[in-house]
């Protein structure tokens, strides 16, 4: 028995590629057969259509779904709103996260750094749906925000069920995704780089602009992949906390599948964020964001 086991170990030792293949085959096959095949199915079915009378899918290739998307100003507005709010949310999170990451990496003591780290990590893993829901309660006309501002004598903002609410909630739920890679990138900057810059006569601001910021940028971009992509592909927040003009691409897809049962059209509209993210990921890769993830 033991001899046989030793022989097997020896075999793998002499032929490491056999072991590598044995390890890689199951995950790669699973991904190819399910995930990549699913992406192909998405792409292919976006060229099909639905019989308006029987609601059955017709396997006839045509560009009808894409033409509908292109011609309709309503869908164009929805696509632009989705991409626009995703960009603004990403910018907001970068602005909120950078000073925090800087404080954690370069100023905070070990204890307070560990405390902030866990304080950022826990909301990330607590239920997404619950965090959206609680903001719906906070921003409601009878919610905490209006109540507090009225108490201190300020006018109530009444931003519940609006694009403001959608923006604020997205910025809130995805913020930890930005903080962690930004902190990681800032923490990896060697102190000697900063010292060298100061020794060469650069002011604090110049050191920040010419040394720290370029080295931290891959972290910001790594974070932005998540904040941008997650906003781009969401329908829960606009549905629960948005108003009449808060429809996202995701909402149209959600309704096409859940209500009107038009899967080909939903697939075509879902291809839009896929294309946007494809371009975004290529740029991010160029800028070294993948090493910072």
């Amino acid at each position: 028995m033991r001899a046989a086991r030793l022989r097997v170990s020896g075999l793998f030792w002499r032929h490491p590629w056999a072991k590598a293949l044995l390890l890689l085959a199951p995950p790669l096959l699973a991904f190819a057969l399910v995930y990549l095949a699913a992406l192909v199915a998405l792409f292919v079915s976006s060229f099909w259509s639905v019989n308006p009378f029987t609601t059955e899918i017709q396997h006839i290739w045509n560009l009808g779904n894409y033409r509908t998307l292109w011609d309709s100003s309503a869908y164009r507005t929805i696509a632009l709103r989705t991409i626009g709010i995703a960009a603004v949310v990403t910018l907001t999170d970068a602005l909120l996260a950078f000073p925090l990451g800087y404080f954690m990496a370069r100023i905070a003591s070990g204890r307070s750094r560990a405390f902030i780290f866990v304080a950022v990590l826990l909301p990330l893993w607590s239920s997404y749906l619950i965090r959206v829901y609680i903001w719906r309660l906070i921003l409601d006309n009878d919610g905490v925000l209006n109540w507090t501002l009225r108490k201190v004598g300020l006018p109530a903002p009444n931003i519940g069920y609006s694009n403001w609410a959608v923006w604020l909630i997205f910025a809130y739920v995805w913020l930890p995704f930005m903080v962690l890679p930004v902190y990681g990138a800032l923490e990896r900057i060697p102190e000697s780089f900063v010292e060298a810059s100061r020794d060469l006569g650069a002011s604090g601001l110049t050191t920040f602009r010419r040394v720290i910021l370029p080295l931290a940028l891959p972290g910001v971009i790594a974070g932005s992949i998540f904040t941008f992509s997650l906003t781009l592909g969401d329908y829960v927040t606009p549905l629960l906390a948005g108003g009449a003009s808060s429809q996202f691409i995701g909402n149209v897809v959600y309704e096409s599948v859940g209500i009107s049962n038009n899967v080909p059209f939903a697939a075509a509209f879902a291809a839009v964020p896929l294309a946007v993210m494809g371009v975004y990921l290529l740029i991010a890769r160029r800028m070294g964001a993948f090493e910072a993830m």
Binding site: S9, F12, A20, L23, L24, P26, P27, L28, A30, F31, Y35, A38, L39, A41, L42, L96, A97, P99, L100, F103, M104, R106, I107, A119, V120, L121, P123, W125, S126, S127, I130, R131, Y133, I134, I138, D142, G143, W147, Y172, L175, V179, G204, F226, S229, L230, G233, D234, V236, L239, L240, G250, V257, G258, V263, A267, A270, P273, L274, M277, F290
Partner: protein
């Protein structure tokens, strides 16, 4: 070193951001005890009644049970596939190694509706009817990368020469795994597994597209909130879910700290270099 005023400004900013993250979570804890059906602030009075209502609801129970089963199977799948891929990437140099990481991260890097819609079209094209297993397939695809990242990070920091030493001393593959690999790896696997479980248990965006008429706990809550029904029950579940996610994350956090074995391994690696 930064000026004193800069340091104070950054500390204040950081404190405000952490408060921004935590005040809503604190508020939902209060709402769970709201006596009234109406969710306005301040809450009408204190009661624990809604916890009983939530716990005795058959809808909530069956949704919870489905969520737990899905999360367990998805986590097990993710552990098997994720650690196999991590081993291959950490221990072998081969063509397209970068592409493996990229492929595995895609399901969470791409927008949720893309992954959801892709799986939906896939199931329809393949004439696969929705069941618990279609939900599991969806969850497993984006849980793999969580385990993969945790295990890969651990393997990269441990030295491969430990394996060679073990084999030089006459251990076979099984013994090497039992006495050398497992002690280094076990905590990373548990940590990755806990995080994968938490992710699966909470997922709603992709799940809608793979669940059909079934209700996982998040899908049930989503329906309640959307229709404005059973909000006190939602509050009570929210309270429980926040507490329940805190436990695995804190545990995972502790487990990912370096173990004694690792630290010695890392020192050895530095010395031999």
């Amino acid at each position: 070193m930064e000026q004193r005023s800069t340091r104070i400004a950054l500390a204040t900013w950081s404190a405000l951001v952490v408060l921004f993250l935590w005040i809503p979570l604190a508020l939902i804890m209060i709402y769970a005890f709201n006596k009234s059906n109406v969710q306005s602030w301040p809450i009408a009075g204190f009661t624990t009644h809604w916890f009983h209502v939530a716990w005795s609801s058959t809808d909530v129970r069956s949704a919870l049970w489905l969520s737990v089963r899905v999360a367990l199977v998805a986590t097990a799948t993710a552990i098997l596939l994720g650690s196999a891929a991590a081993f291959a990437v950490a221990r072998f140099a081969f063509f397209g190694r970068e592409a493996v990481s990229f492929l595995l991260v895609l399901p969470i890097a791409l927008p949720g509706i893309v992954t959801g819609m892709a799986l939906n079209s896939f199931f329809i094209a393949g004439h696969i009817t929705v069941s618990m297993w279609t939900i599991v397939i969806g969850h497993a695809t984006f849980c793999v990368v969580i385990v993969y990242n945790n295990v890969l990070a651990r393997l990269r920091r441990s030295s491969a020469s430990l394996l060679e030493a073990s084999q030089d001393l006459g251990a076979d593959g099984l013994q090497t795994f039992r006495f050398v690999v497992w002690p280094v790896l076990s905590t990373a696997l548990v940590a990755g597994g806990l995080l994968a479980f938490a992710l699966s248990f909470d997922e709603v965006v992709v799940t809608f597209f793979t669940a059909g008429a079934q209700n996982t706990l998040p899908l049930l809550i989503f329906g309640y909130i959307r229709l404005g029904q059973q909000l006190p029950v939602v509050n009570a579940i929210a309270f429980a879910m926040i507490l329940l996610t805190v436990i695995p994350v804190v545990l995972a956090q502790r487990l990912m700290r370096d173990t004694g074995v690792l630290r010695r391994g890392a020192t050895a690696a530095v010395v031999t270099k």
